[in-house]
C-alpha cells in the first residue's frame, strides 16, 4: 500500500511547515482528502499512526476532512456535487461532466502548533 509513503510525506510537510512558522510541537495536522485522491481515509489514518512513531512526532494527530466530488456541468454551466466517482454526470440534467473541480485533494490545510 502507498498510504505509508503518503503518511511519511504528510509528516515531512508538517515538520517543514512548523519550522517555517517559528517551530513548536505539531499537535494537529488537518488534511483534506478527495474521493479521487487515490488514498483511502482509514488506511491513511492507520498508516499515519505507524509513521509518526518513526519520527519525533508521536503526539501529532491527523484530522482528515473528506471533501466531496464536484464537477462542472457544461450544459447547466454550474458546478455540481456528485454522489460517486463511478458516474461522472450531472445529477440534474444527466450530461457527462469530465471536468473535475474538486475531488483530487490530498492537501495539508493547517497545523496546530504548541509551544
Amino acid at each position: 500500500m502507498h498510504e505509508l509513503s503518503i503518511a511519511l510525506s504528510i509528516l515531512d510537510l508538517a515538520e517543514e511547515q512548523a519550522q517555517l512558522h517559528g517551530g513548536g510541537r505539531v499537535a494537529v495536522i488537518r488534511l483534506q482528502l478527495g474521493p479521487l485522491s487515490g488514498v483511502v481515509k482509514e488506511s491513511l489514518q492507520s498508516a499515519f499512526e505507524l509513521a509518526r512513531e518513526s519520527c519525533s512526532m508521536e503526539d501529532a494527530n491527523l484530522v482528515i476532512e473528506e471533501v466531496p466530488l464536484v464537477s462542472f456541468c457544461p450544459v447547466c454551466q454550474v458546478q455540481r456535487t456528485l454522489a460517486s466517482a463511478r458516474d461522472l454526470c450531472c445529477p440534474e440534467c444527466g450530461a457527462v461532466t469530465p471536468e473535475i473541480v474538486h475531488g483530487r485533494e490530498l492537501e495539508v490545510v493547517s497545523l496546530e502548533l504548541e509551544s
Binding site: 500500500m1 502507498h2 509513503s5 503518503i6 510525506s9 504528510i10 510537510l13 508538517a14 511547515q17 512548523a18 512558522h21 517559528g22 513548536g24 499537535a27 488534511l31 474521493p35 479521487l36 485522491s37 487515490g38 488514498v39 466517482a85 463511478r86 458516474d87 461522472l88 454526470c89 457527462v96 461532466t97 469530465p98 473535475i100 490530498l106 492537501e107 495539508v108 490545510v109 493547517s110 497545523l111 496546530e112 502548533l113 504548541e114 509551544s115
Partner: protein
C-alpha cells in the same frame, strides 16, 4: 509552564515534492522533443507484451527507450530488451508504484538521449500509481477482456487519471463472452470522453491505430 497553541495555515499538496520533480521532468522532455508515455494496469493485463510490440514497430524510425518498474524481478526488462531498444529496470523493492524521482534517477547517467519516445511501464497495480505524476505526456491504462467489464468502476481513480484506455487481449473477447458495450459504458462513466483502443498482442489488432495516435500526439506536443 503554560502551553500555547497556534493555528497556522499551510494549504499544500502532500505530494508537492513529487509534483515539482514531475514538472521539471516534463519541461526537460518537452525541450528535448521526447514524448513520454506511461502504462498502468493490474498485474497480467499485458503491459509488457503490448509495449514489446510497440517498441518493435517504432525502433526503425524513431529513437525509443523504455523504463520498467517492477517490485523485484527483471523479467519484464529482459522481455522488453528483446525488442532491441534501450531498456532500464527500476526495482522498487516494496514500493507499489513509481514516483517521479525514481524516473529522474533512472534517467540520470543513462546515455540514451535525445529520444523521440520514452515509455514508462509502471508496477502492475491499479491503486497506488494513480496519485503520482511521472512527468508523462500520455498515461495509458490497460485492461484486458478477461478482467471483466466493470474494472473501471472498481478503480475509478486511476481510470480517471488516464488519457487513453487500451482494451487488451481483444482476441479473447468471444471466448470469455466479453461485453464490449458494457465495458465502454463503464469507461465513459468514470472518464467521459476517454479514447479507447482494442488491441491484441497476438494478432496485432489495434496496434496501428495506437501508433497513429502516438504520432499525432507527439506532433502536437513537440515544439516546432
Amino acid at each position: 509552564m503554560i502551553t500555547t497553541t497556534r493555528l497556522v495555515e499551510v494549504r499544500q499538496h502532500v505530494l508537492k515534492h513529487n509534483d515539482v520533480v514531475a514538472r521539471a521532468l516534463r519541461e526537460e522532455f518537452r525541450s528535448n522533443g521526447t514524448f513520454v508515455v506511461s502504462l498502468v494496469s493490474s498485474p497480467g493485463a499485458g503491459k509488457t507484451a503490448f509495449l514489446e510490440k510497440v517498441l518493435r514497430k517504432l525502433r526503425g524510425n524513431y529513437r525509443v527507450a523504455a523504463l520498467v518498474g517492477d517490485l523485484a524481478t527483471d523479467n519484464d526488462a529482459r522481455r522488453l530488451a528483446r525488442s532491441e531498444v534501450p531498456v532500464k529496470q527500476i526495482t522498487t523493492g516494496n514500493v507499489c508504484h513509481l514516483e517521479a524521482a525514481m524516473v529522474r534517477d533512472a534517467l540520470t547517467g543513462w546515455n540514451v538521449e535525445p529520444l523521440d519516445f520514452l515509455f514508462i511501464e509502471n508496477v502492475g497495480n491499479l491503486v497506488c500509481p494513480a496519485s503520482f505524476d511521472l512527468g508523462e505526456n500520455m498515461r495509458l491504462v490497460l485492461f484486458s477482456v478477461t478482467e471483466g467489464e466493470d474494472k473501471p468502476l472498481k478503480y475509478p481513480t486511476i481510470f480517471n487519471t488516464a488519457d487513453v484506455a487500451i482494451l487488451s487481449k481483444i482476441d479473447l473477447a468471444a471466448a470469455v463472452d466479453f461485453d464490449l458495450q458494457a465495458a465502454l459504458k463503464s469507461l465513459q462513466s468514470v472518464r467521459p470522453g476517454i479514447r479507447v483502443i482494442g488491441t491484441s498482442s497476438k494478432t496485432d489488432e489495434g496496434l496501428d491505430e495506437f501508433l497513429e495516435l502516438l504520432y499525432t500526439e507527439r506532433h502536437a506536443n513537440t515544439p516546432s
